[in-house]
């Protein structure tokens, strides 16, 4: 089984991994880099538990070869510390078992950055990409509503907008 060295940019850090051509980004993040925030769920592109952000777009990491990620900026939930999305999920208790949470958080963060102040229709469309088996959708929607509203709001003195805060992680 042949493994090639691969250079990745994950959460702003340059990383080197050994990967098969057939390894998915999810497998490399978890198995090689120890970033277990992206969860293996269906591994079929349906549940969204493995969602990461690649060059600003939410991507299901089970549906991306690790080799495809070379030269692109990958962010995982471990890189979201201190963001408004994370804070909103805490304030709204937007999790039950928590297995889907990192995937929802990544979608929320990508939405905040791509469409600060996104309307309800867009927010729901983005959130339809993820499944919560505990059916905690109301709290999740409330949290994401809060996060996108904060992303739109002008920064108050002493705080930073979501997009800037997200880069601190």
């Amino acid at each position: 089984m042949r493994r090639d060295e691969l250079a990745l940019d994950v959460n702003g850090e340059a990383c080197r991994v050994l990967a098969r051509g057939a390894d998915t980004l999810l497998e490399v993040l978890r198995g090689q880099l120890g970033l277990t925030g992206a969860k293996p769920g269906c591994e079929n592109g349906d549940c969204g538990a493995c969602t990461v952000i690649v060059d600003g777009a939410p991507i299901k990491s089970c549906m991306m070869l690790a080799q495809e990620a070379a030269g692109r900026r990958v962010r995982t939930v471990e890189g979201l510390a201190g963001t408004a999305a994370q804070q909103a999920f805490v304030e709204r208790f937007a999790f039950q078992c928590g297995y889907c949470t990192s995937g929802f958080l990544m979608v929320a963060q990508a939405l905040c950055e791509a469409h600060p102040g996104a309307d309800e229709a867009r927010m729901l469309e983005w959130l339809r990409s993820n499944i919560c088996r505990c059916t905690g959708y109301e709290e999740i929607r409330a949290a994401v509503r809060d996060a996108v509203a904060r992303a739109k709001a002008p920064a108050v003195q002493g705080t930073e907008p979501v997009a800037s805060a997200s880069r601190q992680g």
């Binding site: 390894d23 998915t24 777009a57 339809r128 993820n130």
Partner: protein, 270 residues
């Protein structure tokens, strides 16, 4: 986990892509062109496809283009469906592509991948079949132009080693309102019970279908009936066996279709 090895190649020109594919094919690697890769990864994991190499087309500049030229829209086949919706600039295509899978998946699935895929729905092709879309195909001599209607008959039919690089859409042909509806059994995100897309062109409705049969289609006899207001006759002219599966029985599909066509005609004849 994909239970076999494959090598990953990312050419940065049409010529390099075609040459890479042909070299890998000569070496017995059974290569596949790779767009978003969602279907290849899924099927490889399930053992439904086996390949020794993927030739990723996302680095080919021609595949990433969005350009308006003389009343036509040129779209690279490597654009993701999310990009087609956000930047594509043609509402019928945005509406059809915008209901494929879910938003995150659409950030990965490409326009060309949707048309070339094994999953039978290929909804993004529907609006493209309603106008005289040109398929820009990459092959050994370089790029060539073909009518999409000639190379897409139920599935995308290209010689081995060729790939769909671009689609040129004559926007001026569709000069009226459009209609796009996807009906699913229950959930918003699901394979379609049916997807129906229509445009008005020269005062007549043009309508294409997915999910109804085992392939997407546009049918002249159905369109004649629909433009005469004969919905039941049009349903009688569906050109193949109506799908009868877990998503819905054939009778249920015909029943739903009658209502959808009524809605479509109200929009397209307004």
């Amino acid at each position: 986990m994909i239970p076999f090895d494959l090598s990953y190649h990312r050419p940065d020109s049409v010529e390099e892509a075609v040459a890479t594919y042909r070299r890998l094919e000569r070496d017995g690697r059974r290569p596949l062109y790779y767009g978003g890769g969602t279907e290849i990864i899924t099927m490889a994991r399930l053992g439904q496809v086996r390949t020794g190499a993927g030739v990723d087309l996302k680095g080919v500049p021609e595949c990433g283009i969005v350009e308006r030229r003389n009343g036509s829209l040129l779209l690279g086949a490597g654009l993701t469906l999310a990009e087609v919706c956000e930047r594509g600039g043609w509402a019928p295509l945005a509406d059809a592509a915008g209901r494929v899978a879910d938003h995150t998946s659409r950030c990965k699935i490409t326009l060309g991948g949707n048309l070339a895929g094994q999953i039978p729905y290929r909804e993004a092709v529907l609006p493209l079949l309603l106008v005289d879309t040109v398929a820009v195909v990459a092959g050994e001599p370089g790029l060539r132009r073909e009518r999409l209607a000639d190379v897409f008959r139920a599935t995308l039919r290209l010689p081995p080693g060729d790939f769909l690089a671009q689609l040129e859409v004559p926007l001026h042909e569709a000069d009226g309102p459009h209609f796009a509806v996807k009906r699913t059994r229950l959930d918003w995100v699901d394979y379609p019970l049916m997807t129906v897309v229509g445009v008005r062109a020269g005062g007549r409705a043009r309508i294409a279908f997915s999910g109804l049969c085992g392939y997407p289609f546009r049918d002249a006899a159905m369109e004649r009936d629909l433009n005469a207001g004969r919905i039941q006759d049009a349903i009688g002219h569906i050109p193949g066996p109506v799908a009868d599966d877990l998503h819905g029985s054939a009778d249920y599909r015909r029943h739903v279709l009658a209502g959808v066509l009524q809605d479509a005609l109200e929009v397209l004849r307004a």
